[in-house]
């Protein structure tokens, strides 16, 4: 569902993502981990078409993100780490705007938008301008927008920032349930405990290189430790490549 072939991104002489090759299948919850500046957000932007690769290719549902961007984007929902939204729209208007971009409309759509806002806990503020939303409310609204068009892949970049514990618990459960319905979740996060709890597969990137990939158990087996955080720190300190 999400596949990269030697995906590379250079900014001048700096290699942000170095020949990344990996695959995430439908129904998998994949966590993409790495220290600050490792290349996680750059990888996500390459997958979503917001950046153009220097070399290599990225595929979403079999479609090349660069050659068939519209086709790839039809099946992707994205939640960025910083939820910059249109401040002068209400939450409801924002969802209607996003729905319009996917050519969704009508009574069924309005009903779905309402359900998603209720699910993510922003229905009470649906008719307030987004400029009055807190960071967490904007994050929840972004999630509502990401699921409007029934995506096959949801890419989330550090989704837990600004969310209260109740919302975090809900979101973990919601995303996990969705993967059982075939949704592919590609999540970048610093919160190792959540990654350990929900992930079917984990990838660790450091200085642009994919240094580990597999199930949590397989990653743990790489180091002589029973603590996932210790394993992560040891791997990223060494910078080993698989």
């Amino acid at each position: 569902m999400v596949r990269t072939e030697s995906l590379t991104k250079k900014f001048g002489s700096h290699v942000a993502v170095n020949h990344l090759t990996m695959e995430v299948h439908p129904g998998e919850f994949f966590s993409f981990l790495g220290p600050n500046g490792a290349g996680k957000t750059t990888t996500i932007k390459l997958l979503t078409g917001l950046l153009m690769p220097t070399e290599g290719r990225a595929f979403i549902d079999g479609k090349d993100v660069q050659l068939d961007p519209v086709g790839a984007k039809r099946v992707v929902g994205y939640v960025p780490d910083q939820p910059f939204l249109y401040e002068k729209l209400t939450g409801r208007e924002f969802l209607r705007f996003v729905g319009g971009l996917y050519e969704l409309g009508g009574i069924e759509f309005e009903k779905k938008a309402e359900e998603l806002m209720e699910l993510f806990g922003v229905l009470d503020v649906a008719d307030l301008l987004i400029e009055e939303y807190s960071h967490g409310m904007r994050q929840k609204l972004s999630f509502s927008a990401a699921f409007l068009h029934d995506p096959k892949v949801v890419i989330v970049d550090e989704p837990w920032v600004g969310l209260d514990p109740k919302s975090i618990r809900f979101l973990k459960g919601y995303l996990k349930d969705k993967t059982r319905d075939g949704l592919c979740v590609f999540m970048s996060t610093h919160t190792l405990s959540i990654a350990e709890e929900v992930s079917d597969k984990v990838g660790i990137i450091n200085s642009g290189n994919l240094i580990a990939m597999g199930t949590v158990a397989e990653i743990m087996a790489l180091e002589a430790s029973e603590n996932f955080e210790d394993v992560f720190l040891q791997l990223t300190a060494r910078g080993e490549e698989i």
């Binding site: 917001l50 939204l85 209400t90 209607r96 971009l101 050519e103």
Partner: protein
């Protein structure tokens, strides 16, 4: 920060910097030449030929014109400082951080006040320097005239800054407590008062040649009020041109003392009102709800149901974002106000020129030029920033199955439909008031339609060639390199299009072209040229903009 800002110009494309530098220099030189010729003409002007015994009337008119310019700059600086103060004192995100630091609000205010003075000084520098230089050359002013002009500028800049910033601080303290209907009534009353003042001050009725000059001088006498700082600045500068140092020093000291006093007053008011006003603005309770289906904005979706959902969504979003941003629509309203003043004053136009074909044509084409310039200003100010204003939110559209081409053309059509709805109306109404001949009516309306295409394409296209996704303030986006290039190119296009048409019609008026089929052929030729020029101005920037947008990374 200023050093880094200046240094960052080095990182800009050399072509961009070069083109804008050339245009700025050309504009400065053009302004200088205009003033130089005008002052030279007025110095030679002898009113004896038209039966007026006013002595050195050229000098009198020159002094009135300079005073008028100083007044215009003074008023412009007040308005400018009101808006700049709003941004630097209240809307800037770093103010929150600065208030949390051990800094008194008066210290913060003083620093920001200095920024306001510096930001507004470019206008005086750009408009004032060619004026001063040309006047000094024509009237053989001594060397210290230029030094005095520079010295007088200092306190002259501080006074409107103090007035403008104080207005902002007081309004910010008072406005959050006022309800929306009261705000609308106050705004409408202010606009009506300004409209009436301008009509009364510059109402030059049907005039014969003998009465015109005295009427114009009378109309300008308001600018000579001894209570206006602009009068002191003008008198201080003009006195030094005549070698009257003591008088010059008097007006300088008058400016300086008032500048210091007004600054102290604004500081006193700010120390009481700045922080409470800022806190009130940022801690206002939840504002009203905007339920779907209510009000004009709530119904726009249904009114545009004939459009494709994607296009409709983008247009509705742009309209709502614009209409709910006070800093945007208030400036738009100001444009409408100026247009209304312009059109209303046409009623008082004397029609003596109708008998003289050259003047008749000149007035018609000047009217077309004025309407085109308003259109160029509108597209530069409101359309050019549209792509940039997507800014950090571009991920929303970037992730959607929307082609960049669709986005660009949506902005284009939004601009075209919005601008043509009033520019064509202004063109028709003003032509009727000026009793323009039928051929010129048709030609000017057709030209304004073409200009709507071109100026929209230019603004949208260049907005995509030179986007600034880091900036949320449309005024700052426009004042960048791309915005300046867009405006200058718009002016060049307008001059080329209208100039070609005007030359043809003036040649006919001078009987250089016979009024037969040959004239009709030439009109067709000129129209063809304008069509081709307009097509180029529309599609080349759009094409370049699309290419750049498709290459841009977010």
């Amino acid at each position: 920060m200023a050093v880094h800002e200046i240094a960052s110009v080095k990182n800009q494309s050399k072509l961009k910097v070069g083109v804008v530098t050339v245009f700025v220099i050309a504009l400065w030189l053009g302004t200088f030449f205009l003033f130089y010729e005008a002052f030279g003409y007025m110095k030679r002007f002898d009113a004896g030929g038209i039966g007026l015994d006013l002595g050195t009337v050229g000098e009198v008119v020159t002094i009135r014109v300079i005073s008028l310019l100083f007044v215009a700059v003074f008023i412009m600086l007040i308005f400018s400082n009101v808006l700049v103060a709003l941004t630097t004192l209240y809307k800037s995100s770093e103010v929150e951080y600065l208030f949390s630091s051990p800094l008194r609000s008066s210290e913060l205010f003083t620093a920001r006040f200095a920024e306001c003075v510096v930001f507004s000084s470019w206008a005086l520098l750009f408009l004032g320097s060619p004026l001063i230089l040309s006047y000094g050359i024509v009237y053989h002013a001594p060397w210290y005239f230029y030094l005095v002009a520079a010295i007088v500028s200092g306190p002259f800049l501080v006074i409107p800054a103090a007035v403008g910033v104080t207005i902002t601080v007081v309004l910010a303290r008072v406005f959050p407590k006022l309800s929306r209907p009261i705000l609308i009534i106050l705004g409408a009353a202010a606009v009506a008062a300004l409209f009436l003042y301008m009509r009364r001050s510059f109402d030059v009725e049907k005039l014969s040649g003998e009465k015109m000059l005295r009427a114009i001088l009378d109309a300008m006498k308001n600018t000579q009020s001894p209570f206006l700082p602009s009068f002191w600045a003008a008198q201080g500068v003009l006195a030094s041109a005549k070698g009257e140092i003591r008088q010059s020093a008097f007006y300088f000291l008058l400016l300086l003392s008032n500048a210091l006093m007004l600054f102290e007053v604004s500081l006193l008011i700010a120390s009481k009102m700045y922080y409470p006003g800022w806190a009130a603005l940022h801690a206002s309770p939840q504002t009203r709800l905007h339920p779907t289906g209510k009000g004009i904005l709530g119904r726009i979706d249904s009114w545009l149901i004939f459009l494709r959902p994607r296009t409709r969504s983008l247009i509705v979003k742009d309209i709502k974002m614009f209409w709910r941003d006070v800093s945007q629509w208030s400036q738009f309203a100001l444009f409408f106000g100026l247009m209304a003043v312009y059109v209303a004053n046409l009623r008082a136009t004397g029609y003596y020129y109708l008998d003289i074909p050259i003047w008749r044509n000149a007035v018609s084409f000047l009217n077309l030029g004025a309407t085109s310039l308003i259109l160029a200003t509108l597209t530069s100010r409101f359309i050019f920033p549209l792509i940039s204003l997507e800014g950090k939110r571009f991920w929303v559209i970037g992730l959607a199955p929307v082609r960049k081409r669709e986005l660009l053309w949506q902005k284009f059509w939004l601009s075209f439909v919005t601008c043509i709805s009033f520019s064509l109306g202004v063109m028709v109404i003003s032509n009727i008031m000026l009793k323009v001949e039928p051929l010129l009516m048709v030609l000017s309306c057709a030209t304004i339609v073409m200009m709507n295409f071109s100026l929209s394409g230019l603004a949208v296209g260049l907005g995509a060639v030179y986007p600034n996704f880091r900036e949320d303030n449309p005024a700052k986006i426009v004042s960048g390199l791309g915005g300046t290039l867009n405006f200058l190119t718009s002016i060049a296009y307008i001059i080329a299009a209208i100039g070609t048409e005007a030359v043809l019609f003036q040649a006919r008026a001078l009987k250089l072209i016979p009024e037969d089929y040959r004239f009709a052929l030439m009109v067709a030729g000129v129209v063809g040229f304008v069509v081709v020029l307009s097509a180029g101005v529309t599609f080349i920037p759009m094409s370049l903009g699309l290419k750049n947008l498709e290459r841009t990374e977010f």
